[in-house]
Amino acid sequence: MIKTLAASVRDYKKVTIATPLLVLGEVICEMSIPFVTANLIDSIKDGAAVADILPTAGILAIIALCSLAFGAAAGITCSHASCGFAKNLRHDLFYKIQTFSFANIDAFSSSSLVTRLTTDITNVQQAFMMLIRIAVRSPLVLIFAFVMAFAMGGSVAMVYLIIIPILGFGLFFIIFKVRPIFARVFHKYDALNESVEENVTGMRVVKSYVREDHEKQKFARAARDVCADFTRAEKLLAFNNPMMNICVNGAFVTIIYLGSKIIITSQGTLFDVGQLSSIFTYGFQILMSLMQLSMIFVMVTMADESSHRIVEVLNATPTIANPTQPVTDVADGSIDFDHVSFKYSKHAERQALDNIDLHIKSGETIGIIGGTGSAKSSLVNLVARLYDATEGTVRVGGVDVRNYDLDTLRHQVAMVLQKNVLFSGTIAENLRWGDASATDEEVREAARLACADEFVDGFSKGYDTWIEQGGSNVSGGQKQRLCIARALLRHPKILILDDSTSAVDTKTDAKIREGLATYLPDTTKLIIAQRISSVQEADRIIVMEGGRIADIGTHDELLKRSEIYRETFTSQNKMTAEAQAPAPDDTELEGGEAHE
């Protein structure tokens, strides 16, 4: 795990290594200050003249300035190293995700990928910063302070030799006890916050059923439970401070007694007032470093889970990758399914697609109809190799899709996904996703074919209109048409529309299909739709049910022989008998208010 993460340090290696070295310099300077001060005090006590004091004072000032310089430099390199590391790690993770297949994305889920890229990286960054600076500093201070105290005070410093293990053991014992409580309570705490979120989201339901009091009781129960656990953990942690007090104060009292004795009995030769003063300083520093060590321990264990989650993504293998010798040319738009079966995951019990055998000629228009869960989308996803077939072969232009260069294949197979997404940016920028080098004229042409020009021209800024994140400022039907235009700019050999005109009125829908037929006659078109009217003119219509092709044929043939097709048709077209006359005019409703 460390190795994978360390790979992201890269160009910040120098500052990363420099930091502990600078910290070492800082600690050495800092630790020598009380030592030199002791001598200064001794000479003051012995009644030295100002001229004798000044050189020592000068040396001390220089040491303090050096320590300041080292410390500040370490602070700067540390911030470079840790922020740089976080930047690289974020970069590596983001780039890795870009190589993911749809199956990888499904396995992690978008929201969990977001958490890994944000919160988890922040945690790891904090831990990294701690590790290269404070975690180096504390043990160094501990060792140096003790050695200096010993060099100076001899037997008096032995007091610390007793205190260090006691305190160290005590601190780590508390942490050891507290950690499992925290681990448990943090889960409960997350659950509590999730239940609040559930409550906020479902507020209309809560209020409709007058369940406010029920919710209050439910929340109070959970909140009190969390509180009880947190209190238990914090009460254990509360032993830290008194324990520190016992040690510091105990040492202080002991040293006053022992120190006085040695000073007086040795007449200040072995140990003097200056040393007595400095040994307190060292004691204080030893305690602080122990405190910090126990804190680092907590921080690092908290970052541990985050690092695991990051490494999990970094080490994941994309389930779809380019072949070694890829085919970079798609001959034509023919599609063949040879006994194809497909499961979304190895462990799934049910086959999403079951033994599909289907052959589509280049330039054909194919409609696909079926209820929810009949695997219409799964079928077309295999064509652009968004997923790989579990069994059998999918061929495009006569070549197995697994042999193509992925970019080549996906450039020739344009998909308008069921879950349409537009990105923040202008309309033109969004459409140019299809072809970055498209001229304004080409962009307009694509929009016209998708019947998007009519409303885009109505916007005051036209194609420069800004689309909000997720396309939230255009209506569902407008979004669908923009997405179709985006795909058309690809000039693909195969065009797949996955339920892409559901929010577009039937007349416009027909116009779009007419445009496609006229301007892209050689392109193979696969059209998934809920509405029979969207597919009834197709060359052939596939009726899907439960992952199988229930029937395939023209509209008239299917009406005669397919029960499902006929039922769907009649459930949608009861009015044909009642309403023969054509619609008088063509108004379109656009969403205005946000309240529905």
């Binding site: 994305i105 339901v205 007090n245 997404v421």
Partner: protein, 638 residues
Amino acid sequence: MSKATTAERAKNRKPGTFSRLIKTLFSFYPVLLPLVTLGVIVCAVINSIGATFLQRALEVISTSWQSGDWEAARPQILSLATTLGCIYAVGVLSSLFWNRAMAIVTQGSLEKLREKMFNRMQDLPIRYFDTHQRGDIMSHYTNDIDTLRQMISQSLPNLLMTIIVICTVFFIMLYYSVWMCLVIIAGVTFMTFMTKLLGSNSARFFIAQQTELGVVEGHIEEVMNGQKVVKAFCHESAAEADFDERNEKLFEVSQKANMYANILMPILMNLGNLLYVLVALAGGIFLALGVPNLSISGTALSIAVVVPFLNMTKQFCGQIGQISMQINAVVMGLAGADRIFELIDEQPEEDEGYVTLVNAERNRATGQLVETDKHTGLWAWKHPHHDGTLTYEELRGDVRMDHVDFGYTPDHEVLHDVSVFAKPGQKVAFVGATGAGKTTITNLINRFYDIADGKIRYDGININKIRKADLRRSLGVVLQDVNLFTGSVMDNIRYGNLSATDAECIAAAKLAGAHDFITRLPEGYNTMLSGNGAQLSQGQRQLISIARAAVADPPAMILDEATSSIDTRTEAIVQRGMDALMNGRTTFVIAHRLSTVRNSDVIICLEHGRIIERGNHEELIAKRGYYYQLYTGAFELE
């Protein structure tokens, strides 16, 4: 993004938050918290007076070290050490007490605040939830509470401790030597100035960092949510370039923010070291030059005075380091407290209704309604009048809207002069485009919002007179966006009626057509749902929510796009259950799929907040207007 808002809040905080927070904490723990305060003060004083004992020990040493007579000095030193030891023991005990008590105070206060917020939130009007983003509401419970935790448990006791220590040490210093004290004050003033300078720079970049972090996180969220589109369009490298640009900007500000934070400690610490040297030097010079001392105690300046000063210098500087570490936590904590108080102060939903819903039975002799405790299946509105009389009105489900105007904001009216009459048991459908005002009408019937003009009557009673809880209990609601709660399928159905038996819940599920798929779930009705029923399809979730409404058995129902995610063939199957459910109940149906509304008694077409057509299916088809065009597919509703 919520982090950024907390950071912004830190900049323009309201005055008085600090004192209100302290008052609130004391009101939660009126006995324990004063004791904690006392404990902290005792601890702080005890920890500061060690220096005076050191001074006395040193005096003993300086009188007897040249003779080397330990036996003479021993009793004095021993008594000093034991006295100090006893005082320290008291200090440790009080430290033990206040630290443990503080654990209770911190967690208990957070829990009480959480509960206060949540309880207030339950009583807020729907308007609050419509006008605040979910993430923003949530951050009260996560970010804001977390910043408060840090502040209550660490910053507040530390600040108090620091103030007491500084005061005590300051007094001790004056006690021994005013000159030495002045040296330290000069040094500390300079350190405080540095802290302020670096601290404010750090805070500036810290806020900038939060903003950039918001930008990067927003971009990450957008790309991750559209990752499949990115793949399908081979747009990976463009997305990467966009990302790198933002990532680089974040790096620049966060590096600066961290830098200022990182160098603050070494600078303060070493300024402390310099001060330490300066104090030693000053002491030496004063001693060597024989400067006359000025002090409260009147003691002369001696080595026994200078050495404790060195230790006090360390203590003083250490405390300033403490404050500098807590300052960010305090600023953020107060910003969090500010937001928490704001939520607690929100105006709850008002309810001036006095007509209540009660179980009733019919007196066999007179035929009049009488109130009863039993569940009779017969409900009545209990209506107290001005003259002190009580009348009972049978609950039938007759809903009338008379010339209703309404706007979500006063300057923008979304419903104009809407009148709707639903007789008991009728099915009334609303048809219209997004924004036409369909859902708004249902929001008014159950009083999620109050109308601006006109009247709404339920069984002849103005709904403003009916207690909101009772009004809503008489209306079942099934919404397009289904919200399920963490718990079993059975719990979720029972949400409609908490006293329903398992058998009643199952019967309701059967009625809704949900029984079949529920029994096929791994553990049937006991299958645990979480994450808003993430493991179910949208259609299945809608069926559960229909069952939930069915078990509530309300006389009137609102179905807002309740079957929109069920495909047309399945809907035809569910339709029987729906029809059974609607049978005998006044039902308001909103659907953009016309097959759902065809068999309604009344279909009302809305456009831009006005009723443009009304009638049943046959009448509207014959009219050849708006509904006819929709029906023949001339345009589609969005």
